[in-house]
Amino acid sequence: MAVRNQEFLRGARDTLPLMLGALPFGMIYGAVAVASGLSPAAAVAMSAFVFAGSSQFIAVGLIASQTPPAIVVLTTLVVNLRHMLYSATLLPYLKHLHPAWRMALAFWLTDETFAVTVRRFQRGDGCRERHWYQFGSSVAMYLNWQLWSLVGLMLGNRIPQASDWGLDVAMPITFIGMIIPFVKTVPMMVCVLTAGAASLLTLGLPYKLGIIVSACAGIIAGLLAERSTKLAKGRATP
């Protein structure tokens, strides 16, 4: 029991910096949702039941430009496809859990919780209760997101120009902070630079498909770089 509490609290604590980044981002979501013409109840329900910041943000942008709901749902699917890559990464650590646990952790899976949790899991201490760490991070992110998107809604109602403040900058800045700890090797550097370059070359693709295409390009480049460094090493030490 003590271990569970400890893991839960550590998960929440390690998520605190990312909650700071989600603060302005949640607020801008709320403010933009008001400006898009979405009803307040619908904006709150989206945060509570979809719980996926960047796709919510993109969705209200599409709603503002009178996009048909089917296209908004399709875009949500594409933008969130990356979560399948995340769940593939976490699966080896969670597959022994009861389906109810897997369902709950899947519902709460975000970029932030994934980034924090994967580093905890990869430490490989074999702790049986480490899913409580992910649970702690999930609950912290969820409550934080509900709070700040609600504040953004109220702010957007009172101060309509709040949606032009540029609070959306919080997403790239938070993500930069999340990327840096991963970039420790040359293949990882190759991966990141390729994904970045590809994201600029695929801007023409509809429904934000460029994200998933660029990520795949980066992953392939990283794998190739890793293979070539291994081959070079193999030749140096026969």
């Binding site: 990312l18 700071l20 302005p24 009803s39 619908a42 989206m46 039941f49 979809v50 796709s55 969705a59 709603i63 709901p69 908004v72 749902v73 949500t76 496809l81 979560h83 399948m84 890559l85 995340y86 769940s87 593939a88 990464t89 699966l91 969670l94 597959k95 897997r102 369902m103 899947a106 899976l109 540029g166 959306d168 900058v169 919080a170 997403m171 790239p172 800045i173 993500f175 930069i176 902070g177 990327i179 840096i180 991963f182 970039v183 293949p187 990882m188 390729t194 994904a195 970045g196 590809a198 994201s199 600029l200 460029g210 660029s214 990520a215 980066g218 992953i219 990283g222 794998l223 890793e226």
Partner: protein
């Protein structure tokens, strides 16, 4: 909430949860090829970078490579802060600080 909003949110919630849960639901019934497993480590930085680049280089949907683009400048400041401090909270706080200084005071 209107009926069309209800349908929209139900659809978004269903696809988002479906994506997040799909592999978790299969759990033990899938076995990954070794090359696929090796590629997993590259996923988080690749995905995040593919979101970040367009967001800071084309903040309003148009290219802006100038020093007067606060998104680009604060992203550069955040990256530098992250490399120097190796601290997530400092990276985010300094990056956001740089943005709001550039946006409102300069």
């Amino acid at each position: 909430m209107t009926a069309s909003e209800f349908i929209l949110i139900s659809g978004m919630a269903a696809v988002t949860f479906g994506i997040r849960f799909f592999l978790f639901a299969l759990a033990d019934r899938i076995r990954m090829a070794p090359w696929l497993e090796a590629s997993l480590r590259f996923i988080p930085p690749a995905v995040l970078t593919a979101i970040v680049f367009p967001a800071v280089l084309l903040p309003k949907g148009d290219w802006d490579l100038s020093a007067s683009n606060p998104y680009l400048v604060s992203a550069g400041v955040a990256a530098a802060a992250g490399i120097v401090t190796r601290n997530l909270l400092a990276t985010i706080a300094i990056g956001l600080g740089a943005f709001f200084i550039g946006r409102f005071w300069l």
